[in-house]
């Protein structure tokens, strides 16, 4: 770990006082950044410590939205979301990720910005365009079982590892930010991430001096929600593929659907084409399959991850089917299919 100096931030508005942002990183829970700093993958010379930023620890609720402070832990957010039927998919996603130990420390803002688990990104002896722009991508012709099939480029096929971000994508959450000039803006999570293209080291649209303050989730009547994570181990493993789905059926017609995939994309994958294809159509298994096929049309395997294409298709079709059946049996249902 490279030596670094530390500034402590107790309020987002203090950002302007800190000044230069060259080679600095915001440190929230540290469950990913400290890991990467030990590996010399992240080498900041300056740390802006957020652990004393108390106001970012709150969850606020209005008639229109939930506002989750950037420093709210994954545990606190999961517990909160569990109590609300319209946030079930978020609770499911959070609780399927990592472990209690990690969720107690990991934050809402940090989780959105966590970096890939690509083996070659983690091995500093190997070329990686994300870690060292221009050095090449060892995963393309290497062992790439966990890699992405959607949104890839010839420069990078690293998958995004977050579960929470997939649910946030499905819920169409917005990210609120502030920068050193005091400017604030809102960015839809669906537009937060950038495809790797030829700049895989640039992962989001956030500027270097831009800090996530909160995540806003619109309040609305939602339908049957599922986060289905497929993984090698029954716990404590990243998704091979995952599906976040919120579906409302009216008279046999898919009135509303939000669909997002994890494990398959270089970013949390909003299955917009599939949604559009299904919306306002009569539910049937051939409909889901066609819709998912359409979404997966641009999907490309790199060998070891070819299996993800049929696996996400089966899983997504099943999740949608299950939600449709549940809606049929329970018109107007909102929340998880099974909940204690």
């Amino acid at each position: 770990m490279r030596p670094f100096s530390v500034n402590s931030l107790t309020d987002g508005k203090q950002l302007a006082d800190i000044g230069t942002f060259e080679s600095s990183r915001f440190l929230a829970g540290g469950t990913n950044l400290v890991d990467l700093m030990k590996h010399q993958i992240e080498t900041p010379q300056h740390i802006i410590d957020l652990s004393r930023w108390d106001s970012a620890n709150n969850i606020d609720e209005t008639d229109d939205y939930y506002q989750i402070g950037a420093m709210v832990s994954n545990t606190d957010l999961a517990n909160f979301a569990y109590q609300r039927k319209d946030l079930s998919v978020l609770s499911q996603a959070l609780l399927s990720g990592a472990t209690v130990q990690l969720r107690n420390r990991a934050t809402t803002g940090g989780n959105l910005l966590q970096r890939t688990r690509c083996y070659y990104f983690y091995d500093t002896n190997q070329p990686c365009n994300k870690r060292e722009p221009g050095s090449g991508c060892a995963a393309l012709d290497g062992f790439n079982r966990i890699h992405a099939v959607l949104g890839t480029s010839e420069h990078c096929i690293a998958s995004h590892p977050s579960d929470m971000a997939v649910a946030m994508t499905a819920l169409d959450a917005q990210v609120k930010t502030i920068n050193t000039k005091g400017d604030t803006r809102s960015i839809p999570v669906r537009e937060l991430y950038q495809l790797p293209g030829d700049t895989p080291h640039i992962e989001t649209v956030l500027a270097e001096d831009e800090l996530i303050v909160a995540v806003k989730i619109p309040k609305k009547k939602r339908g049957t929600q599922t986060y289905r994570k497929v993984r090698d181990r029954s716990s404590y493993a990243f998704a091979l593929v995952s599906v976040a789905c919120d579906l409302t059926l009216k008279d046999g017609v898919i009135a509303d659907i939000s669909l997002a995939f994890g494990g398959v994309g270089t970013q949390p994958w909003h299955a917009a084409s599939a949604e559009d294809f299904m919306r306002n159509k009569t539910a049937s298994s051939s409909l889901y399959e066609q819709a998912v096929d359409l979404e997966l049309n641009p999907a490309r395997g790199a060998g070891g991850n070819d299996f993800k294409i049929p696996l996400i298709k089966r899983t997504a079709a099943f999740v949608i089917q299950q939600a449709v059946e549940h809606q049929m049996a329970n018109p107007g249902h909102q929340g998880a299919i099974h909940a204690r």
Partner: protein
């Protein structure tokens, strides 16, 4: 290790709590990296080579050397001189030189190219990251398909011949029920929870070493050979070992590097492998390609068994597993052919991982046997019962004891095999599987000393280790049982190389061998006590408790107080030395422990996810020394079997030759939730041909066959056969797709 707090006599076999339990649950058991010498401990961090199979052409340490806190940077330019790697040839592999930083040869990806020693870990780790190096390589030599494995190894681990045959295999296989199957098993790493760690301190005369190792005597030889020091100038301690599973049989880079740093700086130096380094520096189990052909007659009797194994062998390290051992011993057949071939590759060390040979062989072979049973349309339990070999199928040599059929019958009954039901509703399907286990039993030379002082305190000294196996506890039981002495008067001292040399922990030989040596030492001590009491020749068993030595019973009982006994003897303590060697019965009989595994799983036909509902093992391993620790060890083995079958898969990169998924997030072994209900039953009958205590090895029995039972259950659930382990969701889905 303080004595147990238990104030009663503990008998051999009792399910007593571990005597080191209170220390372990309080975090007070001291592992290798947790000791202090008088001088402050420096921290060493090494840099591993970026790729394998090449030559180090450049190593630049300038930036590292100028970092604050850095005391030394060692490379092949300035490291203390060592004996060349793997010398002397005639030393056993754990005693040979493990030289590092000697020349420019890169043995494998991750092989040390520089060691930084600094005042703190933070300083050493950062300085190490500033070292740059270049390895020139034509690319690693790898084993890609079975045909490339053409070399017949000189011998196999466990002393097996590489090839064995009986009968006419061509004729026996020439049958309508013939099945030809190719199974693949993955690279596997022990991944003990404690990464290999060493603290070394050279005081100018003696090299003091705290390290995490399973066998101490050969470790002393290894350091003596590597560092060109006399053995009596090296003292190794390994009081607690945070798991071994074969990966700590010998010493690894942490030990040699810590010693080099300590010799160079004359200050204590600690080197703990980083978890990523464990994957390369410690040995792993090589992958295997097992071509199995089987045939049976209409009545379900096996005609032919052919087992051909192809595996990689690491360069400069002649270790090969007896993958086919279970195919040679479990079932009778008209003809058996077993063959092992290897290819020498650029690879980190390939060596023993829990149950070398049998874990890997049973995974494939017991799956293949299940395929044959299904093919013959015979219940897999019945099929196995019909074919169990009553004696060694190839040599005809008798078993010392053999309760394989009883294990199978009892297991079937307890598991409810006959009444297994499937009430599946939806896409998740239930399946049941069975598999057998045969594991060779060994006695390895071992020595111990037992002392008695005038206060009635008994102490055991042997350089044996407790790697989680329960050695502290069972040795205490052996002494307590023999002398009828309460456990709290007995101290067990392990893991110090100044004690008599033991077998160490490995190969499931530890408990029987070391316990027998302790028992023999007790007998010697007892004889001395008898002599001191003036008892007639031939009497040699006395009890020691309440400050008295008691010989005989009833009318002939003689009692002598310890104070009287010691008053006249002029010594402060008496001691007995005990040893054990493999006896003649090991030549006359086949000695195996055995077992039967049953498993219930579910398979999600949408996602391919397999979940274990329950595992049940019935085992025969002679006299059980402690039912509690033995049950735990067998359960642990079954967890390993499950993990091996479903999860573990250490992948190498074909370009740089190093491992890819070398951390605990991406190298998956079972977590708590992966394991269902787990039950162990014993069929207990002492086998006195195995050793004086009647016990046999158990450490590797639990894993043997456990994975195949799960694979067979998957097949039962959804009618597919995945012949490439581990059986992960992608492979299940692939097979399901092909099936439909």
């Amino acid at each position: 290790m303080p004595a147990s707090q238990y104030d009663q006599v503990t008998k051999i076999g009792d399910a007593t709590d571990r005597i080191d339990g209170p220390l372990k649950v309080q975090g007070k058991a001291r592992y290798a990296g947790e000791f202090e010498f008088d001088a402050p401990t420096l921290v060493g961090v090494y840099v591993g080579a970026a790729r394998s199979g090449g030559t180090l052409t450049k190593v630049n340490t300038d930036k590292a050397e100028s970092q604050p806190g850095v005391k030394a940077v060692l490379t092949y330019h300035n490291a203390p001189e060592q004996r060349p790697f793997a010398e002397p040839e005639d030393a056993m592999r754990f005693g040979q030189s493990r030289a590092v930083l000697q020349d420019t040869k890169i043995r494998y990806a991750g092989f040390p190219v520089a060691l930084v020693v600094a005042e703190t870990l933070e300083q050493a780790r950062y300085a190490a990251s500033l070292i740059t190096h270049t390895v020139e390589s034509d690319g690693p030599e790898l084993l890609e398909n079975a045909d490339e494995a053409q070399v017949t190894p000189a011998s196999l681990d466990g002393g097996f011949e590489p090839d064995a045959t009986c009968g006419n295999i061509e004729q026996a296989l020439n049958n309508t029920t013939r099945l030809d199957m190719t199974y693949h098993t993955p690279n596997q790493i022990s991944a003990a929870m404690e990464p290999h760690t060493t603290i070394a301190y050279y005081d100018g005369d003696i090299l003091h070493v705290h390290t995490s190792v399973q066998i101490l005597a050969s470790a002393v030889t290894c350091l003596a050979n590597t560092l060109k020091l006399p053995e009596d100038k090296i003292r190794i301690k390994s009081l607690f070992v945070g798991g071994g599973f074969g990966s700590k049989l010998g010493l690894h880079n942490d030990a040699v590097l810590a010693c080099l740093g300590a010799i160079h700086l004359k200050q204590p130096v600690k080197v703990a492998l980083h978890r990523r380094q464990v994957f390369h520096s410690a040995p792993h189990r090589g992958f295997s390609i097992q071509k199995i052909s089987l045939s049976a007659d209409n009545a379900g009797h096996i005609n032919g068994i052919s087992h051909h194994s192809a595996m990689p062998m690491a360069q400069d390290y002649a270790f090969a597993e007896a993958t086919g051992a279970v195919a040679r011993i479990t079932y009778k057949a008209d003809a058996i052919e077993s063959r092992h071939r290897v290819k020498v590759v650029d690879s980190p060390m390939i060596d023993s991982v829990r149950a070398p040979g049998d874990a890997i062989g049973s995974l494939a072979f017991e799956s293949a046997i299940d395929e044959l049973a299904l093919h013959c349309k015979i219940d897999p339990v019945e099929f196995r019962l019909n074919n169990i070999a009553p004696a060694h199928p190839i040599t005809g040599k008798p078993f010392s004891t053999h309760h394989l059929a009883e294990c199978l019958k009892k297991g079937a009954e307890e598991f409810g095999w006959a009444n297994r039901t499937k009430n599946d509703n939806g896409p998740v399907k239930t399946g049941y599987g069975v598999a057998l286990a045969m594991r060779m039993n060994m006695i390895v030379p071992s020595a111990a000393k037992v002392t008695l002082d005038s206060d009635g305190q008994i102490a055991v000294f042997t350089d044996m280790t407790d790697i989680g196996t329960g050695t502290y506890t069972i040795l205490s039981q052996v002494v307590s049982d023999f002398f009828n002495t309460p456990a709290n008067a007995i101290t067990i001292n392990l893991g110090d190389s100044t004690s008599p040399a033991s077998c160490g922990s490995g190969g499931s030989f530890g408990a029987s061998s070391s316990a027998t040596s302790v028992r023999n030492a007790c007998e010697k001590l007892s004889r001395q006590l008898c002599e001191k009491m003036g008892l007639a020749r031939g009497s040699h068993q006395v009890a020691v408790h309440d400050g008295k030595v008691i010989a005989g019973e009833g009318d002939t009982q003689q009692v002598c107080t310890l104070s009287d006994l010691f008053k006249d003897s002029g010594v402060s303590e008496l001691e007995g030395h005990g040893e054990v060697e493999p006896g003649e019965s090991h030549d006359e009989y086949e000695q195996y422990s055995c077992g039967a595994h049953f498993a219930e799983v579910t398979v999600d036909t949408i996602t391919g996810e397999v979940r274990i509902k329950r595992q049940h093992g019935v085992f025969s391993a002679g006299q059980i020394l402690n039912h509690k620790t033995a049950t735990s060890q067998l359960q642990g083995g079954m967890v390993w079997g499950a993990s091996y079958a479903l999860l573990e898969d250490l992948q190498r990169d074909k370009h740089h030759g190093g491992f890819v998924n070398c951390d605990l997030a991406e190298y998956h072994f079972a977590v708590n939730r992966d394991i269902g209900d787990i039950k162990v039953t014993f069929i207990e009958e002492p086998d006195y041909k195995a050793c004086k205590l009647g016990s046999k090895g158990i450490g590797e029995l639990g894993i043997t066959g456990a994975g195949a039972a799960i694979a067979n259950a998957i097949s039962d659930a959804v009618g597919i056969r995945v012949r490439e382990f581990p059986i992960t969701p992608d492979k299940v889905v692939n097979a399901l797709t092909k099936q439909s």
